[in-house]
């Protein structure tokens, strides 16, 4: 039984169907990527799984550990073990880095070991712990967003455009961190514009268009097929 199973998911905003009949799974220690043009419905899928779409009409079934979670409140879903790092990071800019991290630990109260482990992974955050998070650079903010999500001890991470707006060097570091998390056994659903880089990490890729999956890809030929789909020049 897969850790996360999405079956025939539909998302409607009023009369607009943003996602139609989407199904995929994500197991522990694997990366599943969703790629596609803007407006294809990738963000809506992640938000629906995380419980962040209370005003939308959701259909289908989402199961985590075989427990149905579609429509649950977001705070319940993160307590179960699914964390979302949203597009744009949405860190709390007026709070300090330390306060942002403390919030991330909300589901489990935040043990000292968890905090030490996260700060070892992202040492720059320890240095800037008392600094308002809004003063961090884009790359540092992304590290904070990831660290904050990890403090909830997720078993599945939903990452929405984590490399958006980051310098190429920082993007490399970020993808190494994502690979490390996969190797530690966390299941990751990754929505990413850097499609070729994401493909290298992924065990499966779903290509989206107009709210639905238009192609499912697995294995080593994923990058080649996606390259053909978007045009090789468009891929970093």
């Amino acid at each position: 039984m897969p850790l996360l199973e999405v079956r025939d998911l539909g998302v409607r905003y009023g009369s607009v169907a943003a996602v139609r009949g989407v199904s995929f799974t994500c197991d522990a220690g694997e990366i599943v990527t969703l790629v596609g043009p803007n407006g294809a419905g990738k963000t809506s899928i992640l938000n629906a799984v995380a419980g962040a779409l209370e005003s939308a009409r959701l259909t289908g079934d989402v199961r985590f550990d075989d427990v149905p979670i579609l429509g649950d409140a977001p705070e319940r879903i993160v307590h179960r073990g699914i964390s979302l790092v949203p597009e744009g990071r949405r860190i709390f800019t007026t709070l300090t880095v330390g306060e942002n991290l403390r919030l991330g630990a909300t589901p489990h109260g935040g043990s000292a070991e968890d905090m030490v482990s996260v700060l070892e992974r992202f040492p720059i955050l320890a240095e800037f712990r008392r600094r308002p998070a809004g003063l961090l650079s884009g790359g540092q903010q992304q590290q904070l967003a990831l660290a904050r999500a990890l403090l909830a001890r997720p078993r599945v991470l939903l990452l929405d455009e984590p490399s958006l707006g980051l310098a190429p060097q920082v993007v490399g570091d970020l993808f190494r961190a994502i690979a490390d998390l996969r190797d530690e056994g966390i299941g990751i659903v990754l929505v990413e514009q850097h499609a070729r880089r994401a493909m290298k990490l992924a065990s499966r890729c779903h290509v989206m268009g107009h709210g639905t999956f238009v192609q499912g890809l697995e294995g080593s030929d994923v990058a080649e097929v996606v390259g053909a789909y978007f045009g090789g020049d468009a891929l970093p």
Binding site: A52, L53, E54, P74, E75, L95, E99, L103, G104, P107
Partner: protein, 294 residues
Amino acid sequence: MSDVAQHLVNAASLGSLYALLALGIAVIFGVGRILNFAHGQLITVSAYVLLVVSGLPWPLVVVLTLLTGVVLALAMERFAFRHVRRADPATTLIVGFAVAALIQEILVLSVGARSKTVDFATSTTLPVDIAGISIPRLDLVTMGVTAVLLIGLTLLLTRTTVGIQLRAASEDFGMARLLGVRSTRIVATAFAISGLLAGTAAVLLTAKSGTLAPEMGTPAVLIGFFATVIGGMGSLPGAAVGGFVLGVVTVLMQVLLPDGLLPYRESLLFTCVIAMLLFRPQGILPAATAGQRV
């Protein structure tokens, strides 16, 4: 010189009271984006409870009055606002009006529409002389209580987990929930704080005027709203600053306006608020808020 000092004290005292009123409104708007027009009725009901228990020792009177504010605020959240939390702002605004009207009518039917006098803390209206400045003791109490509440609120918001959650929810409620902050608990906490501030305002207003009436909360809540608009809607520091600015402007108008214009003081004050909305709608210290893509 002593006149200037006297006016400064008056402004600080009035500003303190206005800051309490504004904070009570801002803490709920900041977290839940709810404009609670029934905040005035929290003050009114607390004041009537004070009237009922005024024969008891004063510390007990104060505790019971504050407790009334907290319990009534929690009841408002539980039975009225929780059901419309995800509705659009216009709906929550109308619910606020409805709750305010309901409580006011219940008060009128149960205790009558006429004003009542209350014998509570009358000695605090007597002045003390400090460095040639005559200051009513109640003004000192008001400033002291506001200072203690502001310090307490600051410590709560910066040193405790629930305080950090409140600040996070004020900035981006949706993201706070995605991190596991329980929405029901955090909104109820905001209402409880608002109720505590309303109860405090009830004690100070009743001690100041010695009278109470079913409609006494309405002008108080208007002042609170104006102060939050001036300070920045949803910003707690902004609400405190807005309250003090409104207090200073009110006292300045009282002092500087010619006698012929004094009856128009409130009109001029409201004109200032409209000007603020036109030229700096985000207020003096705007709240940090985040958008959310669906």
